[in-house]
């Protein structure tokens, strides 16, 4: 049976009515990207600053005062307390939640002056958070050394200066980093979840049988049910981009048309995944429990959104290669940040198309089998 536009339109109208009637869900669908956007915008600051440092020092030591002043003056560290005597470094870090504890010896000034034997400085670092732990491990020693050189008036030649230059996101604005990631996350969550829910709901209520005995072809039902959600997902993508533009100064460097193309391909493949779940799940809760772990987790964790894929074990790197979000993220980061076009991004786009076609084909096959 040939696809009929009129019949598809009929199903679409029915589905739109469902969506519009459930205004709570609709509100969440529209408000969710905005709220997440602001949340990520303010919370997702990747620069580490003001790490809490405690110091053991004698109040009359001039060198110690100099070190403390330079720690306080830095953006990286902040002195939360200076003690004359710390008995147990472990307990102190546990109790005051300080990230590092610097023990300056009582004879610091004398040793620095006499220069016969070195002063022993101990630094205890809380390594439980490996991120700040690594940073402290690499930074604290040169930092103290530099501060002491300044105190001693010793100014050695520089040898090498480093001029860092960061491309595509020169000011390391977190918005440029999370807007593409958020688009990938929200689009797949909504499209996959909503499609799997809408079909299982019909199944749960027994209205699916009614639809199937009508003159509608299964593919017409599917297309008619999917299109409204495609529209909704694209609306969300638009909201994210607009809010990013207005509030976080995210400017798309590349072409909007190409961005839209990639987004449509991504949304369609996510919808396909949702369809597959809807053929497996018996009720809505089951659909949710399949769709959520299958979309949110990989899209957030294995796509390279936050955690670098290159650092993962080989097995997970392979898994990330079959996740649509990985390719979509590559595309939209390229378009938004680099201004890249099809010439540079045809590979990920092609992969995305392939995954999408595979999902849709499996979904249609399963759907027919279940009739």
């Amino acid at each position: 049976m040939a696809l009929s536009g009129v019949r598809i339109y009929g199903i679409m109208r029915k589905e739109f009515k469902h969506i519009l009637r459930d205004w709570q869900t609709l509100m969440i669908v529209i408000a969710m990207p905005l709220v997440m956007m602001f949340l990520y915008g303010f919370a997702l600051t990747l620069d580490i600053h003001d790490l809490a440092v405690m110091v053991q020092a004698q109040p009359d030591s001039r060198a110690a005062r100099h070190i403390i002043r330079s720690i306080d003056a830095s953006d990286m560290f902040a002195v939360i307390s200076v003690r004359r005597h710390i008995v147990n470094p472990l307990d102190t870090i546990r109790k005051y939640h300080s990230k590092a504890l610097i023990i300056l010896p009582a004879d610091l000034d004398r040793r620095l002056e006499s220069r016969t034997s070195p002063a022993d400085i101990s630094v205890y670092i809380d390594g439980s958070d490996p991120n700040t732990g690594t940073l402290l491990r690499n930074m604290i020693k040169p930092f103290i050394q530099n501060s002491l050189m300044e105190y001693l008036g010793f100014d050695p030649p520089k040898v090498v200066r480093i001029r860092p230059y960061i491309l595509y996101n020169p000011h390391q604005e977190s918005a440029l980093f999370f807007v593409p990631g958020l688009m990938a996350l929200i689009l797949i969550m909504l499209s996959t979840l909503m499609t799997s829910l809408t079909l299982t709901r019909e199944k749960e209520r027994g209205t699916m049988q009614q639809l199937l005995i009508s003159p509608l072809a299964p593919s017409e039902i599917i297309i008619g049910k999917i299109l409204p959600y495609t529209f909704l997902a694209l609306l969300d993508a638009f909201i994210i981009l607009l809010a990013g533009h207005l509030f976080f100064r995210v400017r798309v460097q590349g072409s909007y048309l190409f961005l839209a193309l990639c987004t449509v391909v991504y949304v369609v493949s996510s919808l396909g995944l949702g369809l597959i779940f809807s053929t497996v799940a018996k009720n809505q809760i089951q659909a949710i429990f399949m769709a959520l772990p299958a979309t949110m987790l990989p899209s957030m964790i294995l796509s390279g959104f936050i955690f670098p894929v290159s650092s993962m074990p080989l097995f997970l790197r392979a898994v990330s290669r079959i996740i649509p979000a990985t390719y979509y993220l590559e595309c939209i980061r390229g378009i938004i940040l680099k201004g890249a076009g099809p010439l540079l991004l045809w590979k990920p786009l092609l992969a995305l198309c392939g995954i999408g076609l595979f999902f849709i084909a499996v979904a249609i096959k399963r759907f027919k089998v279940r009739l």
């Binding site: 958070d129 490996p130 010793f154 520089k158 200066r161 936050i306 955690f307 290159s310 940040l337």
Partner: protein, 374 residues
């Protein structure tokens, strides 16, 4: 008490009857545990890096060979400048080191030579780490050169800066990500299971119309709530135990605290997470709405809990918001109990705050539940 027992019985039957459900709350949990355990790494490895050596002297080659040998980098080779930048644009290199033409002369000057590092900033975090690594290698090389020059002049760096700095990394001496993330994962799992499943199970009765039947029986609201909550408390505790076993035996993370402390915290915390589930079920009508609302609340709580973005990094006003976030305090407690072996005396603030938040949210949920029933 009899009512509670009967409702409990009924709830367990529900859970048992839904076989797929049982599988769905166990299998993904285990998969998540392993995937997240290996994926949530803040270490940045295998960074493709290219170089451009305009100087091409023994000194510049020596510096580049140090960069080449560094195990976190994948060295792509030395290229002319345009070719190196092209690699960066195509994404085949994430960083380019450019050594200036007069490198070997300039390093003898007071101000030194300027080495340029160009990083691909698309992934803000990785680029920062990559820059850090490269600066560290170059800095070490420079210090080495300086010390060498000073010795030639008959001076010793040890007497110029007479200080010995010893660094001791506590609690997680290898700085492993898994040690930090897996215990936190237990928190997330408990939260999701208790908040979401409780909400679902109450709203399902409403969807099926059995809620009214339940309410016309002599059973009181509080009985229904307890009956609904207990199975999920048990499931939550089981999931936490599974995570703990995997953490200790598979990931070899030392458990330094006491089990009693951990379970007291878990139970206290579940007052809050269960109440969130009860609350969401009273303001919604369908499973789908429960899901969206719970997800909405949890994404707030999890993002603002310090799970992967430290609370201390956030702006001041966001930090104040986190004071009402139960996930934050439970997260701190679980990590501290696990890695630092902290006991009640050190965590008394966290426990008190969790209790206050729990009682408040529970009262709110109970009021909302009674109003809905009435």
């Amino acid at each position: 008490m009899n009512f509670i027992r009967m409702i409990l019985w009924k709830e367990f039957l529900h859970i048992k009857a839904d076989k797929l459900m049982v599988r769905l709350i166990t299998v993904p949990v285990l998969i998540q545990l392993f995937v997240i355990g290996y994926a949530l790494t803040v270490e940045v490895k295998n960074i493709p890096i290219a170089a451009c050596d305009r100087s091409n002297t023994p000194q510049s080659r020596e510096l580049l060979s140090r960069i080449q040998r560094f195990d976190r980098f994948i060295f792509k080779g030395v290229f002319p400048e345009t070719a190196a930048k092209e690699l960066l644009y195509r994404g085949e290199a994430k960083m380019v080191v450019i050594i200036p033409a007069d490198f070997s002369k300039e390093i003898l000057d007071k101000e030194g030579s300027a080495v340029q590092l160009i990083a691909d900033g698309q992934d803000a975090n990785s680029s920062k780490v990559a820059l850090g690594y490269c600066s560290m290698i170059i800095g070490n090389w420079a210090r080495h050169k300086l010390e060498f020059r000073l010795t030639q002049m008959g001076m010793d760096i040890k007497t110029l800066i007479p200080v010995e700095i010893n660094i001791d990394i506590l609690f997680n001496s290898m700085l492993k990500s898994t040690w930090f993330m897996i215990p936190a994962l237990a928190v997330l799992l408990i939260t999701i299971v208790t908040a979401l499943l409780t909400g679902f199970s109450i709203v399902k009765e409403r969807e099926n119309g059995t809620f009214e039947q339940l309410m016309v029986t002599p059973v009181k609201s509080i009985h229904v709530i307890i009956g609904k909550a207990v199975p999920f408390i048990i499931i939550g505790l089981i999931e936490m135990s599974v995570v703990m076993l995997v953490a200790t035996f598979w990931f070899k993370i030392p458990f330094r605290g006491s089990l009693v402390t951990l379970f007291v915290f878990a139970l206290t915390y579940m007052i809050s997470s269960l109440s969130i589930g009860i609350f969401t079920s009273t303001v919604t009508r369908s499973s789908q709405q429960v899901l969206f609302l719970t997800w909405f609340i949890l994404i707030f709580f999890i993002l603002l809990s310090g799970f992967f973005i430290p609370v201390e990094n956030m702006p001041r006003w966001v930090q104040i918001l986190t004071y009402i976030n139960p996930v934050r305090f439970f997260m701190v407690a679980v990590r501290d109990i696990f890695l630092k072996g902290s006991g009640f005396t050190l965590l008394v603030n966290e426990l008190r705050t969790l209790l206050i938040i729990g009682v408040s949210v529970f009262s709110l949920a109970l009021i909302s539940f009674r109003r809905r029933v009435g």
